[in-house]
Amino acid sequence: MSEAQAHAEVHHHSPPTSFIGKYVFSVDHKVIGLQYYGLGLLAVIIGMVLSWLMRLHLGWSTLAIPGLEKLSAAGAPGNVMTPEYYLSLMTMHGTIMVFFVLTNVPFAGFGNYFLPIQVGAADMSFPHMNMMSFWVTFTAFLVLMAAFFVPGGPPLSGWTAYAPLSAVGVEAGPGQGTGQTLWAISIAIFCVAQLLGALNFISTTLDLRTKGMSLARLPFSAWAWFITSVIGLLAFAVLLPACILLFLDRVAGTSFFIPSGLVISDKMQAHTGGSPLLWQHLFWFFGHPEVYIAILPAVGIVSHILPVFMRKPLLGPRVLVGCMVAIGFLSYMVWGHHMFVSGMNPFSAILFSVPTLVITIPATIATLLWIGSVYGSRMRFTTAALFCLGFISVFISGGISGFFLAQPSIDTYLHATYFVVAHFHFVMGVAAIFAMFAGTYFWMPKMTGRMMNETLGKVHFWLTFVGVYCIFMPMHYLGLAGNVRRYAAFTDDFLSPLIPVHQFITIAALITGAAQFIFLFNLIWSRLRGPKAPDNPWQATSLEWSTTSPPPFDNFGGRQLVVNHQPYEYGVEGPDGDYIMQTAPEAAKAR
């Protein structure tokens, strides 16, 4: 009865009654999922405002932004942004977006809420650990935010925090004092949270599946969350020590990443014999898988939602899962493609470029599977569906530029230009965000019991879809013109003529950003005033739709679920429509 005993711990807790127990320190995976979602929402708003400020500065570098001086007197004397403050905002934008939005929402947020439901479990295997992982994440977020208010302001060495700039301390720049230390601490804490979360996801997926929910019957989203947590388990395990070593370099006088004889601000540094490349190796060994930690859940979510609105199963479901596994596996062999010009052995550049290009094969297969699946369908163009289609489009646009950057010979020209910015914003940022929107419009009825407003949703989609192309497409051309990224202003002779393009991008960014408030309003308004949602508003098949909206504390009211069907049986004659729920009795199989 080993499992019995093991499982006993999972289920014995009963619904909390106190407010704190229900909504703050809740062990209910649904509440925790919403908490992650809320944190992500807060983070994405901050991150977006930061990007507005940055874009304004890039378009009009001497522009006085009213009130900015209040935010940071030294950072914006007379409301004019200083370059160090621009870099600080850029660093915070990157860190917040990558860690607290792209990692938190599609993976931790939706994953926490729907993974247990989709496998038919009452909760995660370790509810208390689950609660802990959220609050640890939250702590990490607070520590990072604190950097805004310490003397010198936030760090300015980018989300990649390349040593020695990030390791030598305040001589390297205003933000490199306390701010950078807080950054290192925050990320280290974040890693711990992610590891705890990953343990939970893995054991839940493997051990808490209800009767009949064989691995072959898992929805794509569940697969994606499972694979992602495996990637995260190994990736964050490397970032954690890296951050600790960086922290030691900063406060304990070690020299892991700091070579000898540095003279910074006319001060000779005491450190000796470290290696800046060591940081890059450790960081990118995490950093590249992190890209897939952000995008795989998005892939899973989109693949999960598309069939619902196409009313037909996806092509080659097993192939798709295989692609996700392959991408996850390959992601550990390609970190060097971030370091083509870093001064590492030129031979290794070739070794790293080949697997990088190979990754494009599973990615292409996945894309073609989606496109091919759209063929011959009769689609219901809900907002969720539109965002899925938008995801496919931006995923293509972002993936294509990968062909260029994967080749060292071309990367030598395009490295650290806006071409790269366009690439990762499309494929990692926008794509993942689109999946979040799709997920929100699709699942919000289940999570809140209220339908979201479709009209507002569609307005939001069109503005966003056209907007992101206006923002990021031009960046490719800027990149080809050699426009260097991470510049606070464009003073060079060859860059100043490009400023009008930047002004265009800025305007597009402001409009697109403003459009997001339509979404925010829709979210809040629908939560309060939206029409009540039925249990299965989209006639979908997976388990989350065979319970009430929102689900009860233990998800299924203690019913024994028996899964008899594949997750995507659409376009068939089912008992109550053109679909068959996974939980429908065996007999329901029409053909």
């Binding site: 004397p77 370059p83 160090e84 720049g173 002779d493």
Partner: protein
């Protein structure tokens, strides 16, 4: 409430009175004047290549700016040296008027800014692009601020005497000095190396001459009322 105000007011009155008397006390104070010179070969003044900042490069195209760590003139005179009363000072009026430290054409004007403790000074950016000003004090608090073009002057002061190297992080060749003194009796040598400290009450003084590269020298001087003493400081210079 009233008492609260009364005490500080009184203190202020007394102090200012005292200072006033000290300042105006010697009607015909003594004067020390002279020249700062060098022997040997001083390091060559090198032309500064400002091509990184085209505006400045254009501005100085005709006559390139020279390095200012050792500026010498005819008769072995040494410019930018500070001569000041380092001991025996019988009291100084606080430096009140605001000094100016100008960033113009990628140069610090003046190269050396001598001031008294707690004397306010303005840092002005007169260039159409950003400057970053980063003084590197050892005992005074360190700060590092950027000045985008067209931002208001930034007013600072130091409360401990110190020789503070100043650099612009953005334009590595821009170097200057803040010389913070706790006396009002000081003089900065001009292009002819001459200095003049007037209004000294009769007495025995220790005079110190400081130059960023050569270091310091001291001399004992006694001046009587209305007397003018002439002394010279000679630094030993090496080519490298």
């Amino acid at each position: 409430m009233k008492m609260k105000l009364f005490v500080p007011t009184l203190v202020v009155l007394l102090v200012s009175a005292a200072l006033a008397t000290l300042a105006v006390a010697p009607p015909a104070g003594g004067t020390i004047s002279g020249k700062v010179t060098y022997t040997g070969t001083p390091p060559k003044m090198k032309p500064i290549d400002m091509s990184k900042e085209p505006t400045c490069a254009k501005e100085h195209a005709a006559s390139p700016v020279m390095t200012e760590n050792v500026v010498t003139g005819p008769g072995n005179s040494v410019e930018w040296a500070v001569v000041y009363v380092s001991a025996g000072d019988q009291g100084s009026a606080p430096g009140t008027q605001t000094l100016k430290f100008d960033q113009k054409g990628c140069q610090y004007i003046p190269h050396v800014l001598a001031m008294q403790v707690n004397q306010p000074f303005e840092i002005i950016n007169n260039d159409p692009f950003l400057h970053n000003i980063h003084p590197l004090p050892k005992i005074n608090p360190e700060w590092n601020k950027s000045q985008p073009p067209g931002t208001p002057p930034q007013v600072e002061k130091y409360d401990k005497p110190e020789f503070i190297p100043v650099k612009c992080n953005v334009h590595p060749w821009m170097h200057g000095y803040f010389v913070v003194l706790n006396t009002s009796h000081y003089s900065l040598t001009g292009s002819d190396g001459s200095f003049k400290i007037a209004g000294l009450p009769p007495g025995k003084y220790t005079l110190t001459a400081w130059q960023e590269q050569f270091g310091t020298q001291t001399q004992e001087v006694t001046v009587g009322a209305g007397e003018t003493k002439s002394i010279g400081f000679v630094f030993k210079a090496l080519p490298y």
